[in-house]
């Protein structure tokens, strides 16, 4: 293309000018949006927790939010661009896999506030919320070791990523803290996002660990974990839930859940943005900030003896006060 024929020039100019003529994103109405990750908003785990937070915001403020469930990786950027273009004030991206999309879209829409959960993006309009999962995992590891009769406990992770290694490390440390000689089996479901939604594989991994003698298994695997918990219930063994409080799923078989208050993070991001209190930058939520915790309710009350409860709560207090250091996973 050496030279553009002159006849095209006015058209080209119009084409360039067109976006400017369209009404720019209207910033005056507050319009929150949330983008869920693979697994979907009803995974009864990580994404569902986020959805609960968004729903609560809607209930409390009467402000509707827009939401989107990712079904393939290419959608992330498109969806966020669409949301930003259509005037979303704050966009919460749930899950570490959204980081690159957030980085890209946030750069192009500097006036839109982005909150990424479980990821970090260093931009002036992005808030990165991360949890200290190792702390709740540590407590769950303690409970697992306290409840195990065989002296063997298991861990089933979803996709093999640093975040899930963080869970595994905390869990291992917690179990060893109670019983230094305990044997721990670790499995990852896969290396692609499909590993979050394969309950059949989850059940198979769980059964392999039960077969090797484990009697408590902690899952950090999204919807794949449903299979893990089902297998535990079928075999009369214990499982430990993750992210949401999953104690109710199989009452009597779920020892506890490593709760991650994604709902609080989402709720707070929406509310802060509404009240103008939203700040960019990293935020870390651990036991001390009520960002993570272990779950005790009527569904697992009978499984946790007062002695166990007392020891775990003691450790909880020690972690908060800094007396008990929990190892953190460092990316190699």
């Amino acid at each position: 293309m050496k030279q553009l024929p002159a006849v095209f020039l006015p058209w080209l100019a119009a084409l360039v000018a067109l976006p400017a003529l369209l009404p720019a994103a209207r910033a005056k109405d507050f319009s929150p949006a949330i983008v869920y990750d693979f697994g979907g908003k009803f995974d009864r785990s990580f994404n569902q927790s986020a959805s609960v937070g968004a729903e609560r915001f809607k209930q409390d403020t009467g402000i509707a939010f827009r939401e989107f469930e990712i079904t393939n990786a290419a959608q992330r950027e498109q969806v966020m661009t669409q949301l930003a273009r259509r005037g979303a004030t704050v966009i919460v991206a749930v899950g570490f896999t959204q980081a690159s999309a957030v980085e890209d879209v946030a750069r192009r829409f500097p006036d839109v506030a982005f909150t990424i959960i479980d990821g970090s993006v260093d931009l002036p309009n992005v808030q990165s919320v991360n949890f200290r999962e190792q702390e709740s995992s540590f407590l769950c590891g303690m409970l697992a070791a306290l409840a195990s009769k065989t002296g063997k406990v298991g861990f089933v992770g979803g996709m093999d990523i640093p975040l899930i290694r963080k869970f595994a490390l905390g869990y291992r440390a917690g179990a060893r803290y109670v019983r230094p000689d305990i044997e721990i089996f670790e499995n990852m479901t896969g290396t692609t996002p499909a590993a979050w939604g394969d309950p059949t594989k989850g059940a198979e991994l769980a059964r392999s660990q039960f077969g090797r003698g484990a009697d408590v298994i902690f899952h950090a695997a999204g919807a794949t974990g449903l299979g893990v918990m089902q297998a535990a219930a079928d075999e009369g063994k214990f499982s430990i839930g993750c992210d949401s409080n999953q104690n109710y799923l199989h009452s009597g078989s779920v020892l506890t859940s490593a709760v991650k208050r994604v709902d609080v993070a989402v709720y707070k991001a929406f509310l802060d943005a509404k009240n103008g209190a939203w700040h960019a930058g990293p935020r870390f939520l651990g036991l001390a900030e009520d960002g993570v915790d272990w779950a005790l309710d009527e569904y697992n009350r009978k499984l946790v003896t007062p002695g166990m409860e007392q020891r775990v709560n003691q450790a909880r207090a020690d972690i908060i006060s800094g007396k008990l250091p929990v190892p953190e996973y460092k990316t190699p």
Binding site: K41, F42, N187, P199, E204, G211, A223, L226, G227
Partner: protein, 324 residues
């Protein structure tokens, strides 16, 4: 002793994982031996998995679920047949269309009916699932290691559908190679013109073959959602239909070799689940990524090197047109 227990457990897992593959592959065998490419295994299984989980959740009966699963799978099979046999359309395209349609339709219907984001409700009641059947004295037998454990883990303790799949292999072999129907079916796949000359309906036989495949895929899908797990989730077949097709080709479209291929695929899969994080002699702990790729690497190697030439039915994929 530890090793022995591990091996037995590994074999038990192999049986569980192989069951849906085997059911689908045997279904595909009937269809393909009659000359109809069965790329729709995946879609039929997924459709059945959804239908059976949905019906089992609503009615509370696993058997009603099985019926619904078979019904949906057969309907999809007939749809592919209608396009590929009656209207002589491209069988591959018709089957792929069904696969893609079901992948979207299942979660959409689940969302509309149950409002759980494309999943069916968890099947918690025992009556909603095909649970494992423990044979008499299995628990006592477990105490005596060598034969007892074999009995308790390999023979006992599987879902009814697993036993059905196992019984199906000799049955399929007999139907295909020992009956008049089987002979005609194979003839239709090799030389439909000859069958036509003999005064038999080519399309009629092909429809029967496709129907059998539909029924078996229905059972396979039901196994996935009501026996292996408890409920339907998006894309829960995870490529098992295609893997079954590969096993069928690997098994040269014959029942027993196909069984062998299914067991081999399942074994590598079960092995992959167990090798993770286990320190092996000499090599030490193998990275997770390598372990997870193992089944696929092995499949490629075996298909490339050891299987020999797989000869497909001659008339496969060619719609039959009566010469006017």
């Amino acid at each position: 002793m530890e090793t022995y227990t591990l091996i037995v457990l590994l074999l038990a897992a192999t049986i569980r994982v192989a069951t849906p593959l085997l059911l689908a592959a045997l279904g595909g065998m009937f269809s393909e031996r009659a000359g109809v490419i069965d790329l729709g295994l995946e879609g039929k299984m997924l459709g059945a998995a959804f239908a059976s989980a949905a019906v089992a959740a609503v009615t509370g009966s696993a058997w009603a679920g099985l019926g619904a699963g078979i019904l949906v799978s057969v309907a999809l099979a007939l749809l592919i047949g209608f396009a590929g046999i009656t209207h002589r359309g491209n069988q591959v395209v018709a089957a792929m269309a069904v696969n893609i349609m079901v992948a979207g339709l299942g979660p959409s219907l689940a969302l509309a009916w149950f409002g759980l984001g494309g999943q069916t409700p968890q099947l918690n009641a025992p009556s909603q699932r095909f649970l494992e059947i423990t044979w008499p004295w299995a628990e006592q037998a477990r105490a005596t290691p060598a034969p007892g454990l074999l009995y308790a883990e390999l023979l006992s303790g599987h879902s009814l559908l697993v036993y059905f799949a196992a019984a199906l292999v000799p049955a399929a072999a007999w139907v295909l190679h020992g009956t008049r129907f089987g002979l005609r079916l194979r003839a239709v796949g090799e030389n439909p013109a000859a069958v036509d000359t003999a005064g038999l309906s080519v399309n009629g036989l092909r429809y029967q073959a496709v129907l059998i495949s539909g029924v078996l895929c229905g059972v396979a899908g039901t196994y996935l959602s009501t026996a292996a797990s408890a409920g339907f989730v998006r894309d829960m077949t995870a490529g098992k239909g295609y893997l079954a097709l590969a096993a069928l080709i690997f098994g040269k479209w014959r029942p027993y070799p196909t069984l062998g291929a299914c067991l081999l695929f399942a074994f590598t899969d079960a092995l992959a689940a167990r090798l993770q994080g286990v320190a092996l002699p000499v090599v030490g702990v193998i990275p997770v990524q390598f372990i997870l790729a193992l089944p696929y690497v092995l499949t490629v190697l075996l298909l490339a090197g050891f299987v020999g030439k797989a000869v497909a039915p001659k008339a496969i994929g060619v719609p039959y047109a009566k010469e006017d």
